[in-house]
Subunit: 397 residues, 2 copies
Amino acid sequence: MKRVEGGICAVNGVTASGACEGDYGVSVIVSKNSTASAVFTSNKVVAAPVIITKDAVEDGRLSAIVANSGNANCFTGQEGMEDGMQMAKIVADKLELGTKDVAVASTGIIGRKLPMPVITDLINEAMENLKNSPKASRNVAEAIMTTDTFPKELAVETTLEDGNKVRIGGVCKGSGMIAPNMGTMLSFITTDVQASAEELQSALKEAVDKSFNMVVVDGDVSTNDMVVIMANGRSGRIDGKFQEALDYLCTELAKMIARDGEGATKFMEVEVKGAESLEDARSAAKAVVSSSLVKTAIFGADPNWGRIVAAVGYSGAEMDEEEVTISLKSDENMVNIVDNGVVKAYEGSKELVTAEDVMESSDIKITVDLNLGEYSAKAYGCDLSYEYVRINAEYST
Amino acid sequence: MKRVEGGICAVNGVTASGACEGDYGVSVIVSKNSTASAVFTSNKVVAAPVIITKDAVEDGRLSAIVANSGNANCFTGQEGMEDGMQMAKIVADKLELGTKDVAVASTGIIGRKLPMPVITDLINEAMENLKNSPKASRNVAEAIMTTDTFPKELAVETTLEDGNKVRIGGVCKGSGMIAPNMGTMLSFITTDVQASAEELQSALKEAVDKSFNMVVVDGDVSTNDMVVIMANGRSGRIDGKFQEALDYLCTELAKMIARDGEGATKFMEVEVKGAESLEDARSAAKAVVSSSLVKTAIFGADPNWGRIVAAVGYSGAEMDEEEVTISLKSDENMVNIVDNGVVKAYEGSKELVTAEDVMESSDIKITVDLNLGEYSAKAYGCDLSYEYVRINAEYST
């Protein structure tokens, strides 16, 4: 497996375009006659585009995705449904497709009517510029940004067991309201693998569970989120190699979201090992990465491992505080701060000095070994900074 | 029922004292030969004093409580257990009691050995100054403060159905790491009611479930928390009137904790009505009060009701977005921002202007009516400010 240029357009047969005006952006991705699958927000309040796309993808087929940023088209009633359908219809008409061949996604503020004249203009503009080029993928990634500070895209290539080279490209956006089971997070993935809708759904779910669902920015869960994959079948049959590449792509995209969490100044990866079950490993990793106290300690470069232990303790995971081992790691340093329940980083120890050093790093890896079983999981997050508070105190006004 | 002066010392037969030095404080509360009960943190990592007090209260009897601030005596191994037992022993010896007649509590930083010389001196100092006076109760409330900005105490008097006047006094401390199932929260309650340990436990649990367990500051759950009640039996028999007074006392103390949440500039009360079950009402109220996005919106005086709806949506509570009604209320103003699923506070509406006005208030009440059933619950919290980040980024260093 290797990384390749071009994002979603690294995949043969995919065209794309993005257009922006003021607070609004529109992206269109076309991959005709694709097998398709999607994963949606777990929030009981769902935006109109979520309802529309669930319906569109039900037959396991899609030819295009249209997405807008700046307005979530959520809590907008029947009018919101009509606006979302209209978005799909404009794209479908131009491509001579049915409305149900087009997925719709929205991100932005909740509860305001979509400004359809602007959105319509942007869709039309995007439709006129559809291309298969790295720049087109970049434009898509940029047009779906909200409080994101950088566009997020990636493409990988791997060789399938049948000898065919397959590519997977993805774009995504964060960056607040990111939580397990997906925050305000959109990701669109293209590939030329051959797969049935069921195979694609199973592969996507497996990848999302260990990537997008393990990212926490603030613990809120959005009303709008979705990951959509379209597979146009120009390459070989789906297999374990494809899964490996899809897992990698989704994980790298998820890490970009964590790294670009609202107000984030530092990235943290938390690995929990030695758990009694996969569920325990995931709960514990997510609890640490979600803890406001851990997040502020990371921001303040404070090696307050007590907060890490406390978060594992309330995560619901089985643990024995006399067995737990905790280490901190940066690119340059690694230190065991608790070793089988014995505190190493006590006041005056060299371990504490190293721990303080590691905490100054902008990339911090926390490893918690519960020493109880065979399961492990990783979660991704960021610090909680003054800037997070500023961004979210000022968002809608 | 009326409020009375004197905190825990409003109760006949109770003596108390507090002593402080530098970062450390010690409180002692004596209520000899009391029936007693306690509720503890749900964290799997528990501090030594939690283990000691669980054991002490097992026979349903206590005569005293000793508590220290500045150090949590958590993750301190066998030495920590010995230190905690020693705290109990000093008090027990002076009062000619058994060690198991004394409950022990600690709050402060995790993972550092208790500085026993300082703690011993402070316990001795407190033991020499035991008094039944309002000032003694105030000293107790002050000595257990950590990042609290004001001491928290209250006493109430009510008339039991048997005609006896009964009093209940309480002190507590917050103020970060406060979450459902109790954060770094200690509360000590005295009363002269007559009750068996079982009756007391049931009354305490009922009161805690609707008060301390409904306060959220940052969603973290501490390793140290406990609520202890001692009843010396000098007044009449426990009954519904007592429960009512205990509920009120605990709720008022819980509100003080929310009001004094780390970095809090505003207090919020969230009431969820019309839920299908009590569990749904509680989950939904806690989700709103815990949401970082709602908390920052409150800080920024931004009437972003979409974040409220989204939090209810991911709380797990049954809801239908077309039925929900949301109102905001300050001391001066009240406004329906969503009415049976219809947004009232849209751009340009007078409702939005009023909503903005309400959000400027320092006391904000959010009411969410799910319009589905008969159950309701209230949760208490505060905003998420720059100051919360500052306090917690700098705590241990």
